[in-house]
Symmetry: C2
Subunit: 108 residues, 2 copies
Amino acid sequence: MFVYAKDRTIEDLGSGVTRKVLAHDGGLMQVEVNFEAGAVGPMHSHPHEQLTYVLSGEFEFTIGGETRIVRAGDTMYKKSGVPHGCRCLKQGVLLDTFTPQRDDYLPK
Amino acid sequence: MFVYAKDRTIEDLGSGVTRKVLAHDGGLMQVEVNFEAGAVGPMHSHPHEQLTYVLSGEFEFTIGGETRIVRAGDTMYKKSGVPHGCRCLKQGVLLDTFTPQRDDYLPK
C-alpha cells in the first residue's frame, strides 16, 4: 500500500528519457517519466485510459490532433485509443496514471 | 483533454484543507488537496480505487490499519473499500487519483 520514492528503480529508456514505476495494483498504475530538454515521447496510443500531470518543466503535447504547451500543475486526459505524444521544451517530469495498469511496464 | 492549473477553482473544505479538481472524464479523476500543518483527512472509505502521490510536505497516513510517514514522491495505493486517513505533519499537497471518477466532487 505504501511505495517509497527512494525504493523505486529508474529505467533508462534512452534518448533523454527515464522512467520510474510507482504504486500499482491492477486497477491503477502511476509512473514518473523524466525528460531532458529536446527529448520526445513519440505519438502512440493504447487501450488504457491515461491522466498526465506535469510535475515540472515545459512540454508541447499533441493529443487527438490538438497541440498545446503545458507546465507544472497542468493535467491531460487521454481517452482509450486516442493518439498522443510530446516534446520536452524545458527539462521536467511527467506523472502518468493509467487504468488499468500497464502490464508491459512490469518486470518480465 | 487539456486542463490548465490556472483555470481550476480552489474549494475551501475548512479546517486547513483546500481542494482543486483537475482533469477527469469518467474513468479517471485527478484532484490536488492542500493541507496546512496539523490538518486531518478523517478515516473514510469508498468503492473507488485511489492512488495518492505526495507532491510536497510530510504526512502520517493510515491505510488498512497500517500507519506510516510519507513525503514528496511517495505513493499509496488504496484498494476499493479500504479505510484510510491522514494527518499533515508539514504543510503540503497530495495528488489523489480515482477510478472511476468521484461524481460527488463535481458541481451539483
